[in-house]
Symmetry: C2
């Protein structure tokens, strides 16, 4: 279990955090470049939760770099408990935000046909941002499961 890919303080862990950060940051950029997104609560919540996810994963990526450069071991019970709680909280919050944004995008596209009625509405960007949020969630869920397994094996 101690050799699990993606554990903190390794190149696997660093690449997992970097992907999480990259997708969360891309989601924020795409959504904030869509005019009028601030009129919809679900999209504002998506930006807020992706902001939290980006900050958390950037912090942990820096921590991984520090551990890699100074060859420190991050697999201590206290640190792993902190990572597990943080990862699960950000994973649940960002999954909720991605699902609620997904619900609104499907409503716009298929149910009330806002996208075909109003060509000014940047539906394409809303869709891309939601897809990026789901990708970021998937990486966050992977690291949350890795952390939980590592903590359980201590």
């Amino acid at each position: 279990m101690a050799e699990l890919a993606g554990r903190p303080g390794t190149w696997g862990g660093l690449s997992l955090r970097s992907c999480q950060f990259a997708f969360a940051a891309a989601c924020i950029c795409v959504m904030s470049s869509a005019p009028g997104f601030a009129n919809y609560t679900a999209f504002c919540y998506l930006i807020a939760s992706m902001g939290l996810q980006a900050l958390w994963s950037l912090g942990l990526a820096c921590f991984d770099c520090y551990a890699l450069i100074l060859r420190k071991d991050l697999q201590q019970a206290f640190l792993l408990s902190l990572f597990v709680v943080g990862d699960w909280v950000t994973a649940v919050l960002s999954f909720a935000a991605a699902c609620s944004a997904g619900g609104v995008v499907v409503l716009f596209e298929r149910d009330v046909h806002f996208c075909s009625r109003d060509p000014q509405l940047p539906c394409g960007r809303f869709e891309v941002a939601t897809a990026l949020a789901f990708l970021s969630c998937a990486f966050c869920a992977t690291s949350a499961i890795v952390m939980f397994c590592l903590l359980a094996s201590l």
Copy 2:
């Protein structure tokens, strides 16, 4: 860990499953009594995932009753693995459905003001059904965590 409240084959487990089933069934009843719900994909998906949740929790409640009456022990690795996978799948699906319905309800209520513009739209029922779905999810997440801890402690 073997004395964890809510483990399968006990009165705690049975009451957890009964609450899950009751809230999922109540959600389906409230949502299907709301005229026009079928025009919205998020609400149809909520009904489908709550149907799955109700079936799964009813099945496990029957299994708990059987174990209580015949005094069987359900804490075997194979059964617990099955419960863990089923619980996590239903929990994630129903949380996604509840969040997407929540996103649409907030949009109707606060962003596009459909509820105040169209008094025919049963927004109150949509809200109650979404709240019931979140309650059902909370019970499902509780049993998923209990199952996972039991499996990890075997």
